[in-house]
Point group: C2
């Protein structure tokens, strides 16, 4: 493949698709635009969960069973933190801390998340361009029956238990896209723009809430293809299905397609969800990603749909 490929992604599910894509497409032709709505400061450290999941996944350092963090991680910091009475609801592994400490130091010195991300990727010999959606603060806030919660408090501290009423993205409306994001989307060499099967409401929406990114997607010449996060009427992992139910949305690919209406040209739907009239081009495949082969297969199916859409 000679063209370029873009993927909009959140955390674990998205990282699986990007890993699959990186086996099909030369990594230097692939750009991942990553959600930063989950980013937060914890213990004075700047944590970027979705970017880090992608860094770990693409460098072969991810803890595959756990779904987040580094393989072979140790936890001496957390043990010492607990002894000192520090907040311990968010797990920071000893090796993982290196990313947060370096990132925090550089951000405080005025460096941008884009630069830091690029340097981390270079240090770990990741060919894929990993671009944060924005270098400005965008914070995903979940309004629940317990009040407003920042994303990590909802997701980690409260384990997605509170009932969600609405989700908003503080700062998104005035945030500029990070350097390179809009150019990457509008590049005439782009053959496909994929939306990963990350949580549409929590992980993809923050990206789409950045006005320049939404406009660029609407103006892009390349087809935009979403991979449905629904598999057999359920979400594979995480709070997608629970959240959709709480928001009064039917748990189906059709609902996700409707949510992305006006932005996507096609959707890769799981074969378990049958044929669905979505008003857009669809392709049906086994979209469950357990093994690396699965990830490559799903990526290939999504690219095939984009190729069909290009005609």
């Amino acid at each position: 493949m000679s063209g370029k490929f873009i993927v909009l992604t959140g955390g674990v599910g998205g990282a699986k698709l990007v890993l699959g894509l990186s086996q099909l497409v030369p990594p230097e032709q692939l750009t991942a635009i990553v959600n930063t709505g989950d980013d937060f400061e914890h213990l004075g450290l700047a944590v970027s969960p979705d970017i880090d999941t992608l860094l770990y996944t693409l460098s072969g350092k991810a803890n595959a069973e756990q779904g987040w963090g580094r393989a072979g991680e140790s936890w001496a910091f957390m043990a010492a933190l607990r002894e000192l009475g520090g907040e311990d609801w968010f797990q920071l592994g000893d090796g993982d801390l290196a990313l947060h400490v370096l990132r925090s130091m550089r951000l405080r010195a005025g460096d941008s998340l884009s630069h830091i991300c690029a340097d981390f990727a270079r240090a770990w010999e990741i060919g894929v361009a990993i671009l944060p959606m924005s270098n400005e603060r965008v914070a995903t806030i979940v309004t629940t029956d317990e009040g407003d919660l920042s994303f990590q408090h909802y997701f980690v501290a409260r384990r997605c238990e509170p009932k969600v009423r609405t989700v908003r993205f503080e700062g998104a409306a005035s945030a500029k896209a990070a350097p390179g994001v809009v150019d990457a989307i509008l590049d005439p060499e782009v053959e496909a723009i994929l939306i990963a099967p990350s949580n549409p409401y929590l992980s993809v929406d923050p990206i789409l809430a950045v006005p320049e990114i939404r406009s660029a997607l609407q103006g892009a010449t390349a087809p935009v293809v979403a991979v449905s996060p629904i598999v057999g009427g359920k979400a594979v992992k995480g709070p997608t299905a629970k959240l959709m139910a709480e928001l009064g949305i039917e748990i189906s690919p059709a609902s996700v397609a409707a949510h992305y209406a006006g932005l996507i040209d096609g959707m890769l739907v799981d074969m378990r969800d049958g044929q669905v009239a979505l008003g857009i081009e669809t392709r049906s495949a086994d979209t469950l990603m357990v093994t690396l082969e699965d990830r490559v297969r799903v990526a290939a199916e999504a690219l095939a749909l984009a190729r069909d859409l290009r005609g």
Copy 2:
């Protein structure tokens, strides 16, 4: 013992004496005033080496062989930091990081080093009051044949190899003593004020360079007793002897007594250094501190000298 006891201390050697004292004196009657001239910001984290050495020593967490850091420490953070191209000349253990991360977070939030220190000591059930000499920045700067070096660059990165010309303490002249320091020294219940056998020029001088502390020592009713850092014409550990030679000072207890002239009333001298006419009261003992028994013995000898001085 019913009175109170004060010790001015730097790093490893000083911590040994404080540990010895804490076996003789009820810990709550003991106050350690600690050098912060070595404190520095590294990787965006506030590191207080002498305070931490004392915290680790008094809580039984110190790595005795190494002389710094925690026993049983792990190093996954440093390994990951190196992968990312981070500065790795200063070792930060995984457990040790908890102190630095929490301290940095609280300092940035406007909390004082005194409060943070007290909370760490409380969390680890340390009865001794550990007071930083000042909550304001005092930085030990070593002028060498390679130019000015901050203390940690001289001591750790350059392993004390550059030849020292002068030492200065930036900020000391205008720094206030931390809350409690002056009151502790001037408390009429104090029976002895000890100067630990830390490096006089690098570890004790920064404390003495804080004007309020120097004045308080001069006005104190309790006898001030220094424990000589020289043992048999040599320094036990660290750069004391090399530094004295470079500064053109004879390596002897007499030189150290002359350095502390006007501040001390007596000096505990190692028996290997014979009888020295110092112009102050002296006591001779084996001052080498290898075992815990040694530390208790040296502390007892220093207290005995203070008792003699009180008459």
